[in-house]
């Protein structure tokens, strides 16, 4: 059963950021209680709120809880998406919601921007590779209709 706070982590960038936050919380454990609360309140509000709720309901020590959470965070499965544009937060949320509705465990999105794919997406998940890009479709079309295209260009005297 994964921690509810992990549902707030959507991308690998956020995963890395959250791991840093957890590390700073773990370091604060070895100082006084006030310092720990100070660091906790300094985190992103949504994350801080979720952590406070979970910590208050947690019977285990804070250290164990944070260690387990870090472990869980590292093990989260990732889906790699190569897009032709830099997605907005709304787009990321939309993709994440779609993913969440099709998977049982929280899954992270690893976004890579490559304008050369023109459009569409390349998906990498659990070692499988699906190229659904516009570039691929154009390449395939050009490959299939090469002779026809050359003939058209010659007819219209665009090439000799």
């Amino acid at each position: 059963m994964s921690s509810p706070v992990l549902k707030l982590i959507k991308t690998t960038e956020e995963q890395s950021l959250f791991e840093d936050e957890l590390n700073s919380l773990k370091n604060a454990l070895y100082q006084n209680e006030d310092h720990f609360n100070e660091v906790l309140n300094g985190l992103r509000p949504q994350i801080a709120k979720a952590l406070v709720t979970e910590l208050s309901a947690n019977s285990d020590s804070k250290e164990n809880y944070l260690n387990n959470l870090t472990e869980e965070l590292r093990k989260l499965p990732t889906v790699g998406l190569t897009l032709a544009f830099e997605p907005s937060s709304a787009t990321i949320n939309k993709i994440y919601d779609w993913l969440a509705s099709h998977t049982t465990t929280p899954t992270l999105i690893d976004i890579d921007v490559n304008p050369r794919i023109l459009g569409g997406v390349i998906i990498v998940s659990k070692g499988t590779y699906s190229d659904l890009s516009v570039k691929k479709s154009v390449d395939n079309y050009l490959k299939e209709h090469k002779a026809e295209i050359i003939q058209n260009l010659k007819t219209n005297k665009l090439i000799s």
């Binding site: 990498v124 659990k126 070692g127 499988t128 590779y129 699906s130 190229d131 691929k136």
Partner: protein, 489 residues
Amino acid sequence: MKTFQEYLDTTKEVGFIERVHRSMVYVKGLPNVRPGEIVLFETGQSGQVVTLSAEHVEVLLFTDPDVSVGTKVARTNENLQVRVGRELLGMTITPLGKPITLKAYKKPSETRLIDITPPSMVNRKNINRQLETGVSWVDLVVPLGKGQRELIVGDRKIGKTEFLLQVMQSAASQGLICVYAAIAKRKLDIMRAEEFVAEKNLTKNTIIVSSSASDPAGLIFIAPYTAMTIAEYFRDQGTDVLLILDDMTAHAKYYREITLLARRFPGRSSYPGDIFYVQSRLLERGGNFLIKGKEVSITCLPVAELVMGDMSGYIQTNLMAVTDGHILFDRDLYNQGRRPAINPFLSVTRVGHQTQSPLQRDLSLELTSFLVHLEKLREFMHFGAELSEATKRTLSLGDQVLALLEQGTDTIIPLSINSALLAAIWAGVWKTTKLPDLKKALKDIIAAYAANKTFAGQVDNLVAKEKSFQALVQAIKADQDLLLNTLKK
């Protein structure tokens, strides 16, 4: 080979490097990859899948480990193959089949898997044809058959490679295809082998598969497999092949390095448990085969290096168990000045004698028992005992026989003239001749045999006619002029 992207589009599977540990790379992904499959890295390098675990795919690199974590990896859905064909003759190639020799070359069209199951007993034939090595000690005392797997064993730098090159020269002159696998050799040694091939004009019959000590462990490991695959191609074309694997102890060491990096459980001397399986499976691919109704052979000469003459090493004894005998190069004999430094008493040929003609077998038996007797007499002499006339005669004959067997690395002595000269010494043709004069006479006769076809024909006829060594000795005694007239000319 297709490009990385093409493989990715075909197999629709991708992996990412998680860890690089020298020549071993740990990849995450590639859900349907198979052990032994070749994978391609985004950066152009290639590797072979060694093992699979729940978390990782373990890949052995064929290039320097300059790949980084996060690099994409694609499956090829192919096991390791090399290009084989007559186009390779005269070339030096890498274990991946890429030419090193700088000369115009047409890529062979046929490809073959380098790791296959050895042929079954049904396709094999008894070894019954002698392989003339041109080296007197071997041809007369420890004969080899075509298709035999004979281990060449000895300390380093006592003439093993020179002997092998000599055998290669002799085999090439008889029309055999020679494949020389240099396993983790110094680049200088590989260059010397190349020079030897060029100098002796053996390029039409020789291929060198080269891996130097500075190459990645994965590449060195596959070198003998590639050489064997090339040998099998020529065998299937109906040509006898001589395959030299120089050396298999280095091969074992690099396999040990690979398996230790892969954290396999180490066994004796830290070698992995399957080292015997790996090497015997390879050597089992040599032998005498029946291809399209014709006997064709792969004579395999693996080399094992000894440390201070210790023959009880793990890999050395493994290889002795796999092969049909061994030729021992003795350090003490080398230091005494014997060339080649072959120890006839500790060398073994399990199938060589069955390939000899009745005359050769008789000669071999006579010579071996004489050498044993001579050795005993020489030991006896150490006591300073007064020698009888008969003993003196035996010792003098021994010196003459050893003078005949002494041979430089640049001479090839055909079997017929060798037998005739031994019979002449036995018959007492040069009984009163001093050793330096005898050596010169022998050298001149051998040179005349190579140059004068009429003389060579006469010697061949004489040797072919006789059925026993004593008969040959008598024939030579009766016709001494055949040899002595050559000297007068």
